[in-house]
Symmetry: C2
Subunit: 87 residues, 2 copies
């Protein structure tokens, strides 16, 4: 399953969430990740995300598609650079 | 065309970009929009976005799919509320 994950997490919790998401997905923008993940791995990720987030204040949206080719991606402006990926 | 637009725009320019994107799409999270848009309207939106953004610092990613049903969406945590939509 190819998926896009976007989060809106308050600053106190964002570093933890970023670290978690990067263990499963590719970080492509400030709060946006993409990648191929099995249903089991996605459940695992979301289970752990729920232990970090405050459901009254934070949110995660996951868009899933069975085939990556069904989604076209266009990037305008700055591409995420190597430095970002190292942080 | 159904699409998801995510942006990473510096604070000095974000209000303008938000206003622009909301003219074309539904605002579903902090920096995430979705909606149905023709190719012409998407070009128009991106053309205007480029006049607002700094391409060295800001970025926009657009994911497009021909059919909305090819994408499943899951929201975890806080759903965007009415107050947010009024701002």
């Amino acid at each position: 399953m190819y998926l896009i994950l976007v989060y809106d997490i308050e600053v106190a919790r964002v570093a933890k969430m970023l670290k978690l998401c990067r263990r499963y997905l590719n970080w492509i923008q400030n709060s946006v990740f993409e990648g191929e993940l099995s249903d089991v791995k996605l459940k695992e990720l979301l289970h752990q995300a729920k232990t970090i987030m405050d459901p009254e204040r934070d949110s995660i949206i996951v868009f899933q598609t069975r085939q990556e080719k069904w989604l076209d991606k266009t990037v305008i402006g700055k591409e995420k650079n190597e430095l970002d990926n190292v942080i």
